[in-house]
Symmetry: C2
Subunit: 220 residues, 2 copies
């Protein structure tokens, strides 16, 4: 079933699944058995038409006046996202951002877990910091192979990013979340996703000033 669905699922829909699942889990845990797309739109701040279209891809059409079956959707989305499977993650780069990720994040999904940490700073290597033993980059391949890890987060700055990513790929990682936004070269089989905070902020400012301009036009 999974494979059939995956093929048809548009990328934009797939990107919303983790968000849907998070809120559906909350509803489910609160004992809410069904929800209307309009109410779910309120919670997620995603338009209800988008929700209905997205849900229709997984075969849940909802019933008029009844809404969607929450436990069923939780089951389907959990299955699709495999989020009940433990995912062990390597963290490359243990500066402020790396520490923030190790300490603060992914708490909402206890199946996502940073299990090993690497840096190339001689002052950090071999020490245990905030509960994490810091490995040197020369140990990357060996540790990744031993631990059978396929997912990595890189917080290595842009100027060293390509080099770090090359080592990460060479170690056998197939999925990379990269906090250095400059595009790096990876083989086709590797999945890489960029977090680009400058771009996010610029986009936000762009939409904000657009809106402020409209307000001004209205007021004139």
């Amino acid at each position: 079933m999974g494979k059939e669905l995956h093929k048809k699922l548009p990328k934009a829909t797939a990107k919303r699944l983790p968000l849907y699942l998070r809120y559906l889990n909350m509803l489910n845990e609160s004992g809410i058995g069904r929800i209307k797309s309009k109410d779910f739109a309120q919670i997620t701040q995603i338009p209800s038409a988008t929700i209905r279209r997205d849900f229709s891809y997984v075969g849940e059409l909802g019933r008029s006046g009844y809404g969607y079956d929450v436990p069923y959707l939780v089951e389907v989305f959990t299955d699709l996202l495999e989020s009940d499977q433990k995912k062990r993650i390597a963290l490359i780069g243990f500066g402020n951002l790396g520490k923030a990720l190790a300490n603060n994040n992914f708490r909402r999904n206890e199946n996502l877990q940073i299990v090993c940490v690497f840096d190339n700073d001689p002052n950090l290597i071999g020490k245990t910091i905030a509960g994490y033993y810091v490995h040197g980059m020369d140990e990357l391949k060996q540790v990744i192979e031993e631990e059978q890890i396929t997912i990595a987060i890189s917080t290595v700055p842009s100027q060293y990013s390509q080099n770090a990513i090359d080592q990460i790929v060479d170690a056998g990682i197939t999925a990379i979340l990269n906090f250095a936004p400059d595009r790096v070269k990876v083989p086709k089989r590797i999945h890489i996703q960029y977090i680009d905070l400058t771009t996010e902020l610029q986009t936000l400012i762009f939409f904000d000033s657009m809106m402020n301009q409209k307000e001004k036009v209205k007021a004139e």
Copy 2:
């Protein structure tokens, strides 16, 4: 001109503008005066058809065999994004993530600048840490008004997020980048953008396991 363009520009296109501008600036600084969509696609890892469509919205159609005029696009996008204007930003929450943002980020655009920092930790308030004086949350409204800041980044954890955002909005901020992914309530005039690292990671893992399944199917 700006207003006319803004209206027509699809949100998905607008979101790509900061990325385009970043690479166009790099090309421009390297003295590259024109670029073909195919080559620009290589650099940005955005499909060339998307690039051509996006550029057509700003009236740049490119010339077959010649490509796009880099300095012209830089000028148009800079104007659209107002990225040559200084944007002063307030940072709320000065834990690991806040420190990482203050120290490491937005360096690529020197017009984006965190100018004041707030936290509610009595151990931090009144101290200067990593070059930033930490204000208490009770000073938020006064400082924001004095400094005439309209943009804030919040790294306040989910459980305190709504309360912090209420204070931020009350202080006069109109654009918020929120690192707590749970949706908060804000007045309609406020622009809020969420950074949801857990969801990003789950999406990445989802696409990665999709691809691995396909590989397996091929191999069978």
